[in-house]
Point group: C2
Chain length 194, copies 2
DNA sequence: ATGTAATTTCAGAAATTTCTGAAAGATGGA
DNA sequence: TCCATCTTTCAGAAATTTCTGAAATTACAT
């Protein structure tokens, strides 16, 4: 591996982390390298810096493209493909969330919906289905929230995240101000979503 | 595999999903089985229902215990170990988040902090460090938020999630009500966190 | 203590995933 | 067109992960 020490440590760490996620060590390293690079890199650059085979780099780049995580560009007068990551880290995070949802959450939701349609033919299956219904509801709640916040502009999103649980306080104020006495002040909020 | 069809489909699906996460197919299946089961199960039950070796089940249970995802219990007059998942799905989700943070995020933060302490010895390293700083900040923002909301009672958390991006609207109202003219109304919100 | 039932460990087998080199396929001049 | 350069594909090699059976360990009852 042919990299400045700081870069190398980062690249190695992300390789390891990569394998805890769905991606391979190689792909993790390629991405880390691109992420830190001040300029776009071509496949041979990566071969040279990371020290694995040309074909492995090719595979890795293909996978990163499937994840929408890299941009392919061209340098004038050079017909090799150059790759880079988006400059804005938020763009990367959003893409990551989107793609993971597509690969992991959506298929699960679809399986759950399918199983919930079927008729339980025993007490055991009835209980299992109840559990699945619960699971389905939680995932819908979570993805519903995600679907909402991903539409926010980054600045707004950051603001919201910085606030953390303090939103809670503001909600309480709002409840006190606008709810009818006796009401919990939630009905209209929760319904509107649908 | 010796399971009612509904249960089997669910178990198989979670086995596959499991391998997209850090856990093996086996572990995923064991957990899915426990999750759907109306009663606690012992290791032999699992061997019988899932059809893999006793030792594999033992390993799987050990891993699930390391993740804090199962409860070990005993039935009177039987000295085998029985396992179950928490009844409350939120408890499971919270544990999952906690453990994943511990395994994935915390080590990354620590590597980043370490690398940010070091002196860049080239323009390339300087640029890389800037990128790492950005990364570090984003992770801190995200985990800060997480740290905040995980303390909420479940009911409050659900309320917050149901609200989705509509909090934004309420914040705008609050800004209009309480900000000095010309101020963006953010300074106190963001500072208070520290 | 001794025996029995249950659990864990662990070395190697089996399966899966990752990686490579060689060959095939593109692409863009001359 | 042909040639040079770059990229992709793919079959098998290498590495890693998962799984098993046998042996070791633990825990409890007599």
């Amino acid at each position: 591996m042919n990299l400045p020490p700081l870069v190398q440590s980062f690249v190695l760490h992300f390789g390891e982390m990569g394998s805890r996620w769905g991606i391979s060590r190689t792909v993790g390293q390629i991405y880390a390298l691109l992420y830190l690079s001040p300029v776009p890199l071509n496949a041979d650059d990566m071969v040279e810096k990371l020290g694995f085979s040309r074909s492995n780099v090719s595979m890795g780049l293909k996978e990163l493209q499937a994840w929408n995580l890299v941009r392919l560009q061209h340098v004038p007068g050079d017909r090799r493909d150059y790759f880079s990551t988006p400059d804005d880290l938020w763009t990367i995070v959003r893409t990551l969330a989107e793609e993971r949802k597509k690969r992991e959450v959506d298929p699960t939701l679809s399986v759950l919906r399918d199983l919930l349609m079927q008729n339980p033919s025993s007490e055991e299956e009835r209980h299992a289905q109840a559990r699945m219904r619960e699971t389905h509801e939680m995932i819908e709640l979570l993805t519903g929230w995600y679907d909402d916040v991903r539409r926010l502009e980054t600045e707004r999103l950051v603001q919201l995240l910085s606030l953390g649980a303090k939103v809670q306080k503001i909600l309480e104020v709002k409840d006190r101000l606008f709810s009818l006495p006796g009401s919990r002040g939630r009905s209209d909020d929760t319904k509107e979503r649908a």
